[in-house]
Symmetry: C2
Subunit: 321 residues, 2 copies
Amino acid sequence: MLTEFELIARYFNRPPAPDSRTALGVGDDCALMTPAPGMQLAISSDMLVCGRHFFPDADPAALGHKCLAVNLSDLAAMGAQPIAFTLALALPQADPEWLAPFSQGMLALADRHGCELIGGDTTKGPLTISITVFGEVPPQQALRRDAARVGDDIWISGSLGDARLALAGYRNELALSDTELLQAAPRMHEPTPRVELGVALRGIAHAAIDISDGLVGDLGHILERSHHGATLNVDALPPGNVLQQREVDLRRRFTLAGGDDYELCFTAPARLREAVEKAARAAGAEVARVGSIDREPGLRLVDAAGEALQLDLASFDHFRT
Amino acid sequence: MLTEFELIARYFNRPPAPDSRTALGVGDDCALMTPAPGMQLAISSDMLVCGRHFFPDADPAALGHKCLAVNLSDLAAMGAQPIAFTLALALPQADPEWLAPFSQGMLALADRHGCELIGGDTTKGPLTISITVFGEVPPQQALRRDAARVGDDIWISGSLGDARLALAGYRNELALSDTELLQAAPRMHEPTPRVELGVALRGIAHAAIDISDGLVGDLGHILERSHHGATLNVDALPPGNVLQQREVDLRRRFTLAGGDDYELCFTAPARLREAVEKAARAAGAEVARVGSIDREPGLRLVDAAGEALQLDLASFDHFRT
């Protein structure tokens, strides 16, 4: 059986990166970080619990990826460049067959974004993964939820709903062919945090949030904090490749309130449409313009013809479901 | 039933502190912190799991205190001044009867140290509390584990072993009177992080660690990382008030390898004994000089007369027990 110290040394210790902010990494009471002069630090925590956020038999490499991805997605939604993270891990046992792919999946994504593992904790307990991630953003350039302005366009990156479609397949809520499940599953298991897009939108976008609980609920946070309303063209929402082939009702439901998308929903002045599209191209991300911020409170859903839609949607809430 | 957002708003949202480093607190994708110019950031994470680190029926106010205290203790062991923390919380249900005292216990300690709650996560799951804490320390002044030098004195703050004695009482490993348990229990449930002492030891102490797993094991980390050995005068170790009255064998065992003490073990040059004692007085902490750092590797235990002791001790390891 591995001790706690052997476990960390074997699976999670890494050589420091050359342009590291880390003055001292894993192995002391604290890590020491030297913040870049003049930058603000963006900080976010997410906790993933077995049986709630992932299946007990989840592929450990994909799970390692996803746990960090959902945290990086929060940095992306702030326009922050990732620099480091801590990992607190409760494990039923120290199983190398699980730890090796889990750490590889996580650290591969970390390396892709220059995000260094600087500390954490391991303990015995029900499988729980708690990450705190750190990023840098210049003062006044963070993409805050409270910064949407009347007349802003509302944009969505990538596509929505395939993660929810895969979940529906696993849960037997819907019949999915093997091919459909195979195509949709990576959107659920290995989301792509829109880090480059978030950084590219600094100085262009006003407000941003990442879509984790479903677009309606998450856009709702922007509206609430910005004290504005919005009109959303439901038929402009970009469905995932698999969802695309489904009937309109399901498409609407899963793009509006699917969850687990980890795309960005952001607002930007209408005069900066070209700048948004250019930033997205540079960041290698698709973006779709799906609505606008209004003075009138509340969220209005309309179809392609501009007709009002009445849809019954409930955003995901961890203590209500 | 409370939603996740109501839960955070009701129990964990606070007005920002006047001299806050926090540019943006709870409620966005990330918190934003403005680090003090020229300071390093000390960062530590600890995860506490129900049934492993605390009893399921633990008093929630004391538990809230303890979860933050063990993290502040890591900052103390680095000589860092607390500034902020994030809290990720998995709960079986959102129970106000539990949440109110839990958050009060935690935030009372946070306020005492000017340590602001800036973000986190709540989810449904087996009761698990994961905290990441942030502190500031001037560059080159952090008390690192690898900084002990040959000839350094070894010092201990406060007293050791009463937390372990209380645990022995609860576990019926030992018979404790009600009075004894009542006196010892707070050392287990509501440890005092030695924050002021850690800060006061900047520029005086070389190496430091907080004693969470037992002195022998934790001092061992200093020795391993500093590539030195040590001699420890076992009879100079300060036992807690209750342990004090027990037989010598138990005193030795629980001061050397009790665990859950959250005192500081630190090393400092012999020529700075007065400075250490002055710093301790200013910080309101007792300190005891209990040994010295040697060139010869390994840890030598001696009694008051300098005679070698052979004791069978095993430090606590989360994956070995």
